[in-house]
Symmetry: C2
Subunit: 423 residues, 2 copies
């Protein structure tokens, strides 16, 4: 088979005709498919139904605390122990919170804005213009927090082993208004990349001009492997400690994609100094998280092994969906050399790069045929993909048949738009 | 019986001896009683046990939303309807949140600090020194938020019908750095006072020099009546609307003292303009509250009448506890005219005023005998009760026998300290 560039004018015209015909055939189906967000499917949620009823009369913690009542701002003891193990930290390096790790991240920004990241540094909001490094493509809700707080975002393109550390090291060494970086270190949203050991060690060790620089490490897919040979992330807090920067990283996690997306448990891990600083301010915000829901999770998981077993059940549901994408993209685009896509071993997304300048038009075209993908550009700060090429596929929710249809349509639209652009 | 001032020196000496003896007898009991915080008792929490298991396979909202999954930043439809009715507002004037109304209040401050209270006013954090009016005695966690944010607190003494409106009107008319006021309008913490209609109307109508002035109205005890003739609070948002200041008030509520203190549902009500402004920022903080827990509450209550029925059960448990305090204080101090205390028809607290300059010593003295009351001063901004006289009693948690003991000890200590001070 020929690559796209090898096609003659005649062949291109023929292909265009074929594609138009196939596109019209999709349109006539009146599809309404949604591949926009990384939400678990009902079958995945069904795996955790026991969570709903596993706490009834057994509402006390191991040390006798009545979870129905007030108190315990940083979580119940057994949840702190379980999630400390999950995050690879000790129990004085963790806070277990409510149902949303996004809330923990957002609130950590708000406190940094108002109070600074420790007692020695001024509040971020009192330092004039500040900036954040945003590896991209990345997670739109991370970028939204920066945008909301008028924090200037510096886009750094993701590489195959995670981050362009040369560029990042040089940026943070020179500019003391750069206060941090967003990271999704494992099965990154949307590229599926896991940071190499070298990337982790350089992040931990790099010289930062700002004395109040922080890594916001959203480890949302820490155990979200699809295979038996999962990616392994070097423990980041340990790396920071070895590099002499123990306070550099805030790590976030949640069970949103383990139990219930809307009713899980979130956690935040960091050095004891960071945790103490944050806990000392959380007491003004809450008398404590929902302890019953934390207890539900501990009872439901039993232990970390129970959580891993659950993740294997998720993998069984997710794997065919990711395989469907690969199969269709390989079949439709494999020989053409006009698009690249990731084939992650875990996480919730596949990242597709169209030819430059095509992504917006492709997504608009699939939308007209009833298939919604994440808006082109959404994976970049300011919704601005400078090459207008990245499209995020989120296959977790729809059934396999729908994913196959949606991906086929995507492949048709990529070719059709590319044909116009490249003529 | 004589009043305290009518006692002869000899009688005072005799009383001192008696009190010392009684105090020693208390000390010898090695008591360990806690009357510090307004936490529900286990019997109260037991009233809501059905909440724990009332959602299992029925996890969908009335409009088919899967509560296990992501979404719905301002609450599920049926919860918004129920809590709108509870707060006396419409469904576009309410946000239903997580387990803590303190969080809603704190976060509203944080947003006001960073973004201002609307699009027309600058952020509070960019206006130099700002101030808040803090009616006192009041709730320490309200004052803590101001203190945390370096908002200067202006103490205004509570009156018998709620607020000293002459003083408040004059303050807010003159000083545009006063950005708001804390209010607990019904069964106020700790005085038990409910604002009169006149107070509500003047709060709603008063001229404020600041264009970004807000009432933070913590209606924590809205339905927490102990009697069949409850206090009735004039609807505050309606009053603000009538006065032409529809955006003046943020109202907060929660089921912390209706169902589970640690695992309830919170809500915030305000004008549609306020709610829209806040919701537009909440989307950066969360993909949604715990919708399952909201659904649990709707199913458990059935409707507002179900909630009221539950409150009558709470009243049955709480009433004897509040009566115990009145009985003991009347018996021990009734004739002496050295202390005043409130006799609220609802809420969670009794407020005691000792003779001036005695409160700290009284609380220290009860503590030495094993009975903890809320630290003296805690009910005032900066923990500074200028008359050092206010003590908050929180009788909800301990059993009646313990409350009787603790209150008797308190009465002994008040007399004993007063004897020393007044000689």
């Amino acid at each position: 088979m020929k690559t796209f560039n090898q096609l003659s004018t005649e062949e291109k015209n023929q292909l265009k005709q074929d594609l138009d015909q196939r596109y019209e055939s999709f349109r006539s189906q009146n599809l309404s498919l949604n591949m926009t967000r990384g939400v678990p499917s009902p079958e995945q949620l069904d795996l955790s139904m026991d969570l709903l009823t596993c706490v009834s009369s057994n509402y006390r913690t191991e040390n006798g605390i009545d979870c129905r009542n007030y108190g315990g701002v940083d979580g119940i003891p057994e949840a702190k122990r379980l999630f400390a193990e999950y995050m690879g930290v000790s129990t004085d390096e963790i806070i277990v919170g409510g149902n949303s790790s996004l809330t923990l991240m957002h609130d950590t920004f708000m406190r940094a804005m108002i109070k600074g990241i420790d007692a020695d540094n001024p509040p971020w909001s009192q330092q004039g213009k500040i900036k954040f490094i945003c590896p991209a493509p990345g997670y739109d809700r991370h970028f939204s927090i920066c945008n909301y707080l008028n924090i200037e975002m510096i886009t750094v393109e993701m590489t195959d082993d995670g981050l362009n550390m040369d560029e990042i090291e040089s940026l943070v060494a020179e500019d003391n208004t750069i206060k941090g970086i967003w990271c999704v270190p494992k099965y990154s949203n949307p590229t599926g990349i896991t940071y190499s050991d070298d990337v982790v060690e350089r992040l931990a060790a790099m010289k930062t001009s700002a004395s109040d620089f922080r890594i916001f490490l959203d480890n949302a897919y820490a155990v979200h492997d699809h295979t038996d040979t999962p990616d392994i992330l070097m423990p980041v807090l340990d790396a920071c400690r070895r590099a002499g920067n123990p306070d550099r990283v805030y790590m976030f996690g949640s069970t949103a994609k383990i139990t219930f997306a809307g009713a899980g448990v979130s956690c935040m891990a960091a050095s004891k100094a960071n945790i103490d600083w944050i806990r000392s301010q959380m007491i003004f915000q809450s008398i404590g998280p929902d302890k019953i829901n934390q207890l539900r999770h501990v009872i439901f998981f039993k232990n970390l092994d129970g959580l891993y077993q659950l993740m294997r059940k998720h993998a069984k549901i997710l794997k065919p969906k990711f395989e469907a994408i690969q199969n269709v993209l390989n079949r439709e685009l494999g020989a053409l050399e006009i698009a690249q896509w990731t084939n992650p071993r875990g996480g919730y997304f596949v990242s597709v790069n169209t030819p430059e300048g095509c992504a917006k038009e492709v997504v608009a075209m699939t939308k007209k045929a009833g298939v919604m993908f994440t808006p082109a550009g959404a994976t970049y700060p300011y919704q601005n993909d400078p090459m207008n090429r990245n499209i995020r596929l989120a296959p977790s929710f729809p059934p396999v048949a729908d994913i196959e249809k949606a991906t086929e349509l995507l492949a048709i639209c990529i070719q059709r738009v590319a044909l116009d652009k490249m003529q």
